[in-house]
C-alpha cells in the first residue's frame, strides 16, 4: 500500500495520532537542541493541519466518514459477532466535525508559530510545546469522535492540557490560581458528563452516539434521558463559557501565556461543538428541541450582554478580551439556538437554517479574529511587560504592524464591513429577528458596545504620546498574526468561500441526525 493511500484511508486516526506522537517525542527531541524541537513541533502541527484539510475534502466529496479503531477493514462499524452494537471506538466525521477539526488545527499551527518567538526566553519549552500538541489532540478528538465515553476522555485531555498551559507563566502565583480554578471547574463538569454517560450506558447498553440516539428514538424519551441530557448540556454550556457559569473564562484566558489564549478560545469552541453535537444528533430526535433551543437562546442573550458590559469595566487587556470571548460565544449560541428552536417546523427552512449558518460561520470568524486579538495582546505584553491598560500608551509609534493587526481584529469583532465579523453577524441579525425582534436588537446593541470597548483599548494602548521605547515583535510572531489577518480579510470579502466549503456542510450535517445514524449503523440494525 503506498503512503498516499495509507494517509487517505487513515486520515481520521492520523488526525489525533500524529499530534499525540509529536507530543510524546517532543521532550526526547529537545535533547538534540531547541532548534530541532521547534522544527519538529511546527512540522507536526503543519501535518495535522494538512490532515484536517484532507478531512474537510473527504467529507465534502464522499459524505460522512466512519473510522473504526483496530477493525479490519477500518469501516466495519458493527462487527457480526457483537449483537448489533458498535462495540469498538468509532470516529465519525461529518461536516461539523471536520469544520471544528480544521479550526483546531489551524489555530494550533498559528499559535505554534507564534510561540516560537513569544516563549523564547522561558524555561521548559519542550513541556510547553508538548502540552500545546496535547491540547490539539484533545480538541481534534472531541471534534471527531463518535463515542460519548471517548468524548469525555478527550474533554479531560483538553481541560488538563489547557489548565497546565494556563499556569505556564507563574506570574507570582496568579496564573496558577487561574489554572486551579479552571481545572476544578472543568473537572467537576467532566464528572457530571461521566455521570450522564453512565446513566445513558445503563439505559441503552451502548456508548456509541448513533446507537444511543437510535435506541432513544425507538423507546421514547424517559426521565433518565432528561437527567442525562441536562447534565451534559449544562456542563458543555459551562465549558464553552456561557453566562452565568463563565467565571473561569476571564481568569483562564487572562493569565494564559502569550498567544495561548488564542488556542484556549478554540478549546472552548470544541465544547461548543460538543453542545451542538449532543443537542442535535444525540437528543435532537427524541427531546423537545424547542425548549432546548430556547435554553441556548437565553444563555446566548445573557452571555452577549453581561460579557460585553463586564468587558467595559476591565483594565487588563487580556481579561477584557476574555470577556469579549464570552460575549461572542453568545452570538453562536443565539444563532444555533434559533436553528434548534425551529428544527422540524416550516420556519426552519425559512430562517432557522440561515440562523444556524450564521452561528456556525461566527465560530470560525471568532476563532480567527479573537485569535488575532489575543496574539496582538500577547505581542504588547511581550514588549511592554505589563498587561495593565492604564500603564500603556503610544505603542503605535513603534509597533506599527501590531497596531494594524489589532485594528483589523477590532473592526472584525465589532462587525465593521467588510471584515468577516460583519458577514456572520448580518446573517444572525437578519434571521433571528423573524423569531423574535428583541433578539436581533440585543445582538446589535452588543455589537456597538463591542466597538466602543475596543476603541477604548486602541486609544489607551496604541494612541497618545510615545511612552515606551520598544521595538517591533519578532518575525515569527508577526507572521502568525498575518496569517490570521489574511483569513479575516479573505472571509470578509469572499464569505461564500467559507460558507460553501465549511459552514453549509456543517449546518446541514447538524440538521440531519438520521443521516448520521444511518451511516454509522448501516441502514437497518
Amino acid at each position: 500500500m503506498n503512503p498516499w493511500d495509507l494517509i487517505m484511508n487513515n486520515a481520521p486516526a492520523l488526525a489525533i495520532a500524529i499530534p499525540l506522537l509529536g507530543a510524546f517525542v517532543t521532550p526526547l527531541i529537545n535533547r538534540a537542541g531547541r532548534k530541532a524541537m521547534l522544527v519538529w513541533v511546527i512540522a507536526v502541527l503543519a501535518f495535522t493541519e494538512f490532515i484536517a484539510l484532507l478531512l474537510v475534502y473527504q467529507v465534502n466529496t464522499y459524505g460522512i466518514q466512519v473510522y473504526v479503531f483496530g477493525a479490519n477493514p477500518h469501516t466495519l462499524t458493527v462487527p457480526p459477532d457483537s449483537g448489533g452494537i458498535p462495540v469498538r471506538i468509532i470516529f465519525t466525521i461529518d461536516g461539523m466535525s471536520a469544520f471544528t477539526a480544521l479550526i483546531s488545527a489551524t489555530l494550533g499551527l498559528v499559535v505554534g508559530i507564534y510561540s516560537v518567538g513569544s516563549e523564547k526566553f522561558q524555561t521548559a519549552q519542550e513541556k510547553f510545546f508538548a502540552l500545546l500538541l496535547l491540547l490539539v489532540v484533545g480538541m481534534m478528538g472531541m471534534a471527531l469522535t463518535g463515542d460519548i465515553f471517548n468524548f469525555f476522555v478527550f474533554l479531560e485531555i483538553n481541560s488538563l492540557a489547557a489548565a497546565a498551559l494556563v499556569s505556564y507563566h507563574l506570574n507570582k502565583g496568579k496564573a496558577v490560581e487561574a489554572a486551579f480554578k479552571y481545572a476544578v471547574v472543568s473537572s467537576i463538569g467532566a464528572l457530571m458528563i461521566l455521570f450522564a454517560i453512565a446513566i445513558l450506558y445503563g439505559e441503552y447498553d451502548a456508548l456509541n452516539m448513533a446507537m444511543i440516539a437510535q435506541r432513544m428514538y425507538q423507546t421514547g424519551f424517559s426521565t433518565y434521558d432528561m437527567i442525562a441530557m441536562t447534565l451534559i448540556l449544562v456542563t458543555l454550556a459551562m465549558k464553552c463559557g456561557a453566562v452565568p457559569m463563565h467565571y473561569w473564562v476571564p481568569d483562564g484566558y487572562g493569565e494564559a501565556p502569550g498567544g495561548t489564549s488564542a488556542i484556549l478560545v478554540v478549546a472552548s469552541q470544541a465544547s461548543l461543538y460538543g453542545l451542538f453535537r449532543m443537542s442535535f444528533t444525540v437528543f435532537g430526535l427524541s427531546a423537545n428541541t424547542s425548549s432546548l433551543g430556547w435554553f441556548m437562546i437565553i444563555l446566548g442573550l445573557l452571555s452577549m450582554f453581561i460579557g460585553v458590559t463586564m468587558a467595559f469595566l476591565q483594565h487588563d487587556i487580556k481579561r477584557l478580551m476574555a470577556y469579549h470571548a464570552v460575549s461572542q460565544t453568545g452570538y453562536m449560541l443565539l444563532g444555533v439556538g434559533v436553528g434548534l428552536a425551529t428544527l422540524g417546523t416550516a420556519a426552519f427552512n425559512q430562517y432557522g437554517l440561515y440562523a444556524m449558518e450564521g452561528g456556525i460561520f461566527h465560530i470560525i470568524n471568532h476563532a480567527l479574529y479573537k485569535g488575532l486579538l489575543f496574539l496582538t495582546a500577547g505581542a504588547i505584553i511581550y514588549r511592554v511587560g505589563t498587561s495593565d491598560l492604564n500603564k500603556m500608551g503610544g505603542l503605535a509609534h513603534s509597533m506599527k504592524f501590531t497596531a494594524v493587526f489589532f485594528l483589523i481584529g477590532a473592526f472584525a469583532i465589532a462587525g465593521i464591513p467588510p471584515f468577516n465579523g460583519f458577514a456572520s453577524k448580518l446573517m444572525i441579525y437578519e434571521s433571528v429577528y423573524q423569531l423574535n425582534p428583541f433578539l436581533a436588537i440585543v445582538a446589535a446593541i452588543v455589537s456597538m458596545l463591542t466597538l466602543a470597548s475596543f476603541l477604548k483599548v486602541f486609544h489607551s494602548a496604541f494612541l497618545g504620546p510615545k511612552i515606551y521605547d520598544v521595538k517591533e515583535v519578532p518575525k515569527s510572531m508577526l507572521f502568525a498574526m498575518s496569517i490570521l489577518a489574511f483569513f479575516i480579510i479573505l472571509f470578509g470579502i469572499f464569505p461564500n468561500i467559507a460558507i460553501h466549503y465549511l459552514v453549509a456542510p456543517a449546518a446541514h450535517a447538524l440538521a440531519n441526525p438520521l443521516g448520521y445514524i444511518t451511516k454509522v449503523l448501516g441502514g437497518g440494525a
Binding site: 500500500m1 495509507l6 487513515n10 486516526a13 492520523l14 495520532a17 499525540l20 506522537l21 510524546f24 517525542v25 521532550p27 526526547l28 473510522y67 473504526v68 479503531f69 483496530g70 477493525a71 479490519n72 477493514p73 477500518h74 471506538i89
Partner: protein, 152 residues
C-alpha cells in the same frame, strides 16, 4: 528520614511491592489489572521508600531524568505499537492469532492463564506500565522537592 523500624519495614516490603506490580502488569490481559494498576503499585513502592528515607537520601538513588525517560519510552512504545497496525487500521491487533510470541489463541473455559496470548495487548500493557511507573514516581519526586522549597 523516619525511624529505624519504618526503614527496615520499607526495605523488606519494597521488593515484594515491585514484584507484585510487575505481576499485575504482565498479567494485564488475562486477569483484572493491567498497565496502569501495575505501574501505580510500583510507584507506591517508590513512594514508600521515599517517605521512609526522606527526599535527600532518595534523590541519590533514583534520578528524575531516568523516570522521565521511562515515561517517554513507555508512551512511545504504546503509540508505535498502535502505528504498526496502520496498514489495516490504527490500533489494529496485528499479532492476534498469528502464533508468534504473543499470538496464541485464548482457550475457552478454566485454564491456568497463558501469557503468550492476546496479540498486541500485553505489549501495550507493558508500555503503559513503564509509562505509569515513571510518571507517578516523578510526580512524587517533584512534589517532595517542591514541598521542601515551599517550607523554606
Amino acid at each position: 528520614m523516619m525511624s529505624k523500624i519504618v526503614r527496615t519495614q520499607a526495605n523488606f516490603l519494597y521488593p515484594f511491592i515491585l514484584i507484585f506490580g510487575f505481576y499485575v502488569v504482565a498479567h494485564g490481559h488475562i486477569t483484572p489489572g493491567g498497565g496502569f494498576q501495575g505501574g501505580a503499585v510500583i510507584a507506591t513502592g517508590v513512594a514508600l521508600v521515599a517517605v521512609a528515607y526522606g527526599y535527600d537520601t532518595i534523590k541519590k538513588w533514583i534520578k528524575k531524568t531516568h523516570l522521565t525517560a521511562a515515561e517517554g519510552i513507555g508512551l512511545l512504545c504504546f503509540i508505535i505499537t498502535a502505528f504498526i497496525g496502520l496498514s489495516t487500521s490504527f490500533f489494529y491487533n496485528f499479532l492476534a492469532n498469528s502464533g508468534l510470541i504473543f499470538g496464541n489463541r485464548v482457550p475457552y473455559g478454566i485454564n491456568p492463564g497463558y501469557l503468550n496470548t492476546a496479540g498486541t495487548l500485553p505489549i501495550m500493557n507493558l508500555a503503559v506500565g513503564i509509562e505509569v511507573l515513571g510518571g507517578l514516581s516523578v510526580i512524587i519526586m517533584y512534589m517532595m522537592a517542591y514541598g521542601r522549597e515551599v517550607k523554606q
